[in-house]
Amino acid sequence: MGFDINVNGNVHNVDVDGDTPLLWVLRDVLGMTGTKFGCGMALCGACTVHIDGTASRSCVTPIDTIGNSQITTIEAIGATSAGAKIQKAWLDYEVVQCGYCQSGQIMSASALLASNANPKDADIDDAMSGNICRCGTYVRIREAIKLAAALTNEKRG
């Protein structure tokens, strides 16, 4: 019984109600605590994961809607090309402060970069405004995304 879900390439069987949000399956059932709880209403983005590559708020994603989709979390985003660049840019730009929201920020930014190699300020606003940072790292996040994009473009060039 329960649900088979594919997280970071591994299939897990979890025995929870179908309406259980993915966030709690990750954190409390599977013990993957990198994905964070912030609001429970898709208002803050701390719980962002990728579902088939799309940035999604796991706190409002019922487990029974996932099916065979591939879930990627912060624990594995470094294995993707965009994710690795974003993580490197985050370190190069010293983005983090308390760090609690940064898993979600990195997941949103990685999804942006994977779909848009050269994001403009307006693209960054669109992709990142769902992620709240109480430490106010927005200025550095913006610069770090541009740096990661520049790294991508250098390699292509």
């Binding site: 954190r27 409390d28 990198g34 609001c39 990142m128 550095r140």
Partner: protein
């Protein structure tokens, strides 16, 4: 990436060992908690480690473990404190591992507060001398051990990169090789600290030691604690402060798959479950009837009225210079104003949480706290156990902002855990977190000033009323109706104000708890004083920067940051219609800040903070990158409060619930921020909060410049700025 960079340390050998095993199993491959020996044994010299003080431990394998007396909540202490130690110890930051300090007021008290707590932007100010001395002491003892081994004069040896070198022969011994012998050397007190010109680390832009694990998701916050078989609980507390549970129908909640237990307390009902999803579902299924208690009709307006009335009577005199009444009587112009600031929630991104394993004779706690000894003491009280039977594991904090100086959450979690078999993690929903915060006090201020015929303020009077957080949190610091926090930013102004009189009236609001909030006293006072000085400039049609500048002959550091910020911001240059610049100047937490905010006000009244320029003189900047980051952070935090922040009560209930009703500034609204640091060799000032208090008046003053409307009440009321069509 440095997965094992930061770890936890507890107080008792057996418990430490047990919790290490438990924790490392439960954390599923995350950080490895250290198996550290208890401090008293290290001090007695029974271990192979060299531990000359409570902050440094060097093992025979050469690992350098630094115990952090100040917590990391984003402000960069877990980099700046190691920098202070490593500067004198002569080790690379790549060599050190960090531990959260256990509760121990004797060893880890903040010298500026007298208790073990991280707040009031004073970690660096408190650590500046003692932690460099800690590093220097260890260095001297390692040198002595090497000199003994070689039979040479210690003066012929020096420390570098974690080794002692005999200069003339080039012989070298690592700290690890010397640890056992160094431990036998008497602790030296007569250390001489480096001269600033010899600093290698201090003053350099240094990478954060906690960044790698915060970027790959392995960093552990209190909410990530997972002792084996932990259950998850969430809770509903009386929606009115002081209310009680009248009745609970928990049949539907108990029927939820995964719900294990319902715990009923006097004023709280908690649902214990296998996971938070089930706990929340159970909570929603509870039918609770509340007895609202004495505050069931309370509204914010009533509190505001109480404070207003209080400012009509006398208060405690916080500062008096000259004769303000006499000077006022002979002034050419008189300006009066009333200012108000609202209750504010902290809304740290990591919601309040605490994990407790309550056992027969002991209690083990996992938490992220700014005041871990306070947690231990209050939890012991709640548990009915002696202090040494309460083990506390501190963690990284997902935001502090003053909220985590309080131990109410730990107490609540202990009360719940007493009814639960095995460990339970109590997690506040965001709604509970906002509606059961302890809030930045509401303040009501009554000001007046008398100006001479040149417009200079010859008299300044200010009487303000609000809650004293200090009186509750640190009672010995509240004396004669005054405390150093409530008045900071209202007295000792940088300006030359010869006749100056400030009074504080302590009024504790009914039915709503208050607490420290990022930038504490100045969060209120700097908005008021820097708005009012702007009013005085406007009253005599003078330029706000020039007006301030003329009052700064006795404050050269203040004048320098004002000039720098004005220059970099292009003060005086033309701006588009509907846009204005506002300035603020502040001395708080030992640092000087000037900010210029550029704000655009649309015809609908919508505000956009476009650009902020900040000049800062914080004395010695330990890590200039952190200085810049903290100013950026403080500005976003303060701008959020100025534009959106307000907690209101209706029928005794907090009306705001989540980020939809308690809004945060987001990426698309964030201004560009420029930070200019004044080079200085003065002792370091605090910076974690300064940016927050300084931005609020800068925004209000910019709105005045853009629209001619003076906002004396925060947050900004956009409807008041709407222009008639």
């Amino acid at each position: 990436m440095a997965l094992d960079r930061i770890s936890s340390r507890s107080t008792d050998t057996n418990l430490s060992r047990r919790s290490f095993l438990a924790s490392s199993a439960g954390f599923g491959g995350g950080l490895v908690l250290s198996l550290s020996l208890p401090l008293h044994r290290i001090e007695a010299g029974q271990s192979e480690s060299f531990a000359p003080n409570a902050f440094i431990r060097i093992g025979s394998e050469g690992q350098v473990v630094l115990t952090m007396p100040y917590v990391e909540m984003g402000q960069g202490t877990y980099t700046s404190i190691p920098m202070l130690i490593a500067e004198e110890l002569e080790v690379s930051l790549m060599q050190v591992r960090l531990e959260h300090a256990p509760p121990n007021e004797k060893l880890y008290a903040n010298p500026l507060l007298g208790v073990q707590a991280t707040g009031n932007s004073n970690a660096i100010r408190g650590a500046w001398k003692p932690l460099r001395e800690a590093g220097a002491t260890a260095r001297i003892m390692l040198i002595a051990a090497a000199a003994n081994r070689w039979g040479v004069d210690p003066k012929s040896c020096r420390a570098e990169h974690g080794e002692i070198v005999h200069v003339s022969t080039g012989r070298r011994l690592t700290y690890g090789e010397l640890a056992t012998e160094a431990a036998k050397i008497a602790v030296r007190k007569d250390v001489i600290l480096k001269s600033p010109e010899d600093f290698k680390l201090i003053g350099t832009r240094t990478k954060r030691l906690d960044a790698p694990e915060k970027v790959d998701g392995t960093a552990l916050y209190g909410i990530d604690a997972r002792p084996p078989n932990v259950k998850i609980a969430t809770l509903a507390q009386s929606p009115v402060f002081g209310g009680r549970v009248k009745s609970v129908d928990d049949a539907a909640a108990k029927a939820v798959n995964g719900v294990r237990q319902i715990v009923r307390l006097d004023d709280t009902v908690a649902v214990v479950a296998d996971h938070m999803g089930a706990a929340k579902k159970g909570l929603a299924a509870l039918k609770i009837e509340w007895d609202d208690g004495p505050h069931s009709r309370l509204a914010t307006e009533e509190i505001s009225r109480q404070l207003e009335m209080a400012t009509l009577g006398p208060g405690a005199v916080a500062q008096n210079k000259g004769d303000a009444d006499k000077a006022m009587a002979s002034a050419t112009t008189k300006v009066e104003a009333i200012y108000q600031v609202p209750f504010l929630a902290h809304a740290a991104m990591e919601p309040m949480n605490c994990t407790v394993h309550f056992r027969q004779n002991e209690c083990e706690i996992w938490i992220g706290s700014q005041a871990v000894a306070r947690v231990q003491a209050m939890a012991a009280n709640a548990a009915g156990l002696p202090l040494d039977r309460v083990i506390v594991h501190n963690h990284l904090l997902g935001g502090g902002f003053g909220r985590r100086l309080e131990a109410d959450g730990a107490v609540r979690a202990v009360e719940i855990a007493k009814h639960v078999e095995g460990p339970v993690k109590v997690v506040w929903t965001r709604e509970e977190d906002i509606q059961h915060d302890m809030y930045r006090p509401y303040w009501f201020d009554r000001l007046s000033a008398g100006l001479d015929d040149q417009g200079r303020p010859v008299a300044w009077k200010n009487r303000f009323a609000g809650s004293s957080v200090i009186a509750r949190w640190l009672p010995p610091a509240f004396n004669n109706g005054l405390d150093p926090d409530s008045t900071e930013g209202a007295i000792d102004l940088v300006y030359d104000l010869p006749n100056f009189h400030v009074e504080y009236v302590r009024v504790e609001p009914p039915g709503i708890p208050t607490a420290f909030w990022r930038s504490v006293g100045p969060s209120h006072n700097v908005f008021v004083t820097e708005s009012f000085i702007d009013e005085l400039a406007a009253a005599t049609k003078q330029d706000p920067v020039a007006y301030r500048r003329a009052l700064l002959d006795k404050s050269p550091r203040a004048k320098a940051v004002l000039d720098l910020a004005a220059d970099k911001a292009g003060w005086g240059k033309a701006l588009p219609k509907g846009t204005g610049r506002g300035v603020s100047l502040q001395l708080a937490f030992g640092s000087y800040l000037a900010q210029v905010a550029e704000v655009e006000v649309s015809t609908s009244g919508a505000i956009r903070v476009r650009r902020v320029v900040c000049a800062v003189d914080c004395g010695t900047a330990i890590n200039p990158d952190t200085v810049q980051a903290q100013i950026q952070s403080g500005i976003i935090f303060g701008a959020t409060a100025a534009l959106y922040g307000e907690i209101t009560l209706k029928n005794g209930r907090v009306e705001q619930t989540n980020f939809d009703t308690y809004q945060m500034l987001r990426m698309n609204e964030a201004p560009t921020i420029e930070v200019h640091i004044v080079q200085s060799s003065e002792p370091p000032g605090g910076l974690g909060e300064a940016g927050t208090s300084a931005i609020v008046p800068a925004i209000a003053n910019a709105i005045f410049a853009a629209t001619g409307k003076r906002l004396r009440k925060m947050p900004v009321d956009a409807s008041a700025l709407k222009q008639p069509v």
